[in-house]
Amino acid sequence: MSRKRSIEEINEKIRKGRAVVLTAEQVAAMGREATPAEVAEKVDVVTTGTFGPMCSSGMFINFGHTDPPMRMEKITLNNVPVFGGIAAVDAYVGATETALPHDQYGGAHVIEELIAGKDVLLQATAKGTDCYPRTEVKTLINKATVNEMIMFNPRNAYQNYNVAVNSTSKMKFTYMGTLLPSFGNATFSTSGELSPLLNDPEMRTIGIGTRIFFGGTTGYVAWHGTQFNTGKPVNEHGVPIGNSATLALIGNAKEMSTRFIRAAYFEKYGVSIFVGVGIPIPVLDEEMAQRVMVRNSQIETNIIDYGSPGHDLLGRVNYESLFSGEITLNGKKIRTAPLSSVRVAREIAETLCREITAGRFMLTAPVEAFRKTTGLNSLEIRL
């Protein structure tokens, strides 16, 4: 009979300073020698991490009221339009929104500057109402002057993602970086065996309400992410191939750090944002142990031709090969490069490991498990 433990039992061990916490890389290495039963016996928690560009991100902000008050309508922060179609002084700063014509500066940069404590220029106009008579405002704000900065990212921490190549004779500029012509390179964007959802592919321990490391502070899983898809094929190790599940995350941006939230600009594509996410996985039983022991060689993904209009599927490859710096496709050797930082992902997993070991971060059971889905809707052109 293999060892089983509950999240409450693990938390009790954390409180007493007796929990055995390892990073996903450490447990993957351990798994070369140890069996799942042995890992389940020895390890209580495995910490994961990822730090990659995650476009579907943004931040709610409440500016506080002016005197006389104003119902802000058209709002910009450092000339970046932000969404003001909610209550009087609430707004949503979308990470990918840009300050035209300067399309290399956008919402992500505003978010990073606010987190860094810098002043940001707020400009807004309104028609003026009886209860909100003011019609314009121009002032400086920073994280100390505003009421809330709530990061809410509708789609983060993709469970696996495609590898991008370019079959054409021209350079392609994409969110997967600059793709050299004639299969000159291949880019990929997950932290492999360190990645949160690849260590719990069925999301047994991750669900609504899960406490996580988010941008340098504590955050929570708010919901399943947009484009959440649990219908993707899985390989013999139980790992979905290609982009599948996602997470919607929430956290206090005032407490975040620019070490784990960084604005990015991808040439001729646009603005994005690097987001740092780490999730602790409780090793409840032998089956979970088997999951967290997953190695890069066991995680596979699809090679997609970003040069073809239909994004043709060209093959399949594992992360061991991708991290080696070279893959072979149809007999041709292609140089590979990551877009997601394993260096920072490792730092996140190690930070979480330290926090849990020190009793400062307790694990949570999901308030509710995610639903299963069968696939995604496409947008049909009906007119």
Binding site: G177, T178, N185, A337, P338, S341
Partner: protein, 136 residues
């Protein structure tokens, strides 16, 4: 003795002549090829370091000019703000010269300036815009 790095561009008709061989044999120039992309019948590129007394180097360049081989010295260098780098690897994707690579064990970016051919692709590929050209 002087060492300088050059980008040589060969017209299609010059690729049949052993230019590099002649630079070594006829001019006694020490040659270190950094990168080569030369195919018969096509425009070719060669990045190489040449070491010789200034006078000899000048003669070698004159010899190449007579054969329509363009010879442009690389005086510029690429620098980047290492302290702000997040080691994502996007720059290494475009660095065909192999100057920017990811260290497998530390997962950190490694920049080998010796291999850099100053193609400038990293300037735009870096999502944090940390690279710049040092004009020396």
């Amino acid at each position: 003795m002087k060492s300088r790095r050059f980008v040589l561009t060969f017209p299609p008709e010059a690729t049949g002549e052993p230019i590099t061989y002649n630079l070594i044999r006829k001019f006694d120039i020490m040659v270190n090829i950094v990168k080569a992309d030369v195919s018969p019948g096509q425009v070719g590129h060669l990045v190489m370091e040449m070491t010789a007394p200034s006078k000899i180097l000048k003669e070698g360049m004159e010899y190449m000019k007579e054969r329509n081989v363009e010879c442009v010295p690389i005086d510029r260098t690429i620098t980047y703000q290492k302290d702000l780098c997040v080691h994502c690897g996007a720059c290494s994707a475009v660095c065909f010269a192999g100057a920017l690579t990811m260290n497998r064990s530390t997962a950190e970016l490694v920049f080998d300036a010796e291999k850099c051919v100053v193609c400038e692709l990293c300037l735009t590929a870096c999502p944090l815009k940390l690279f710049s050209i040092d004009l020396g």
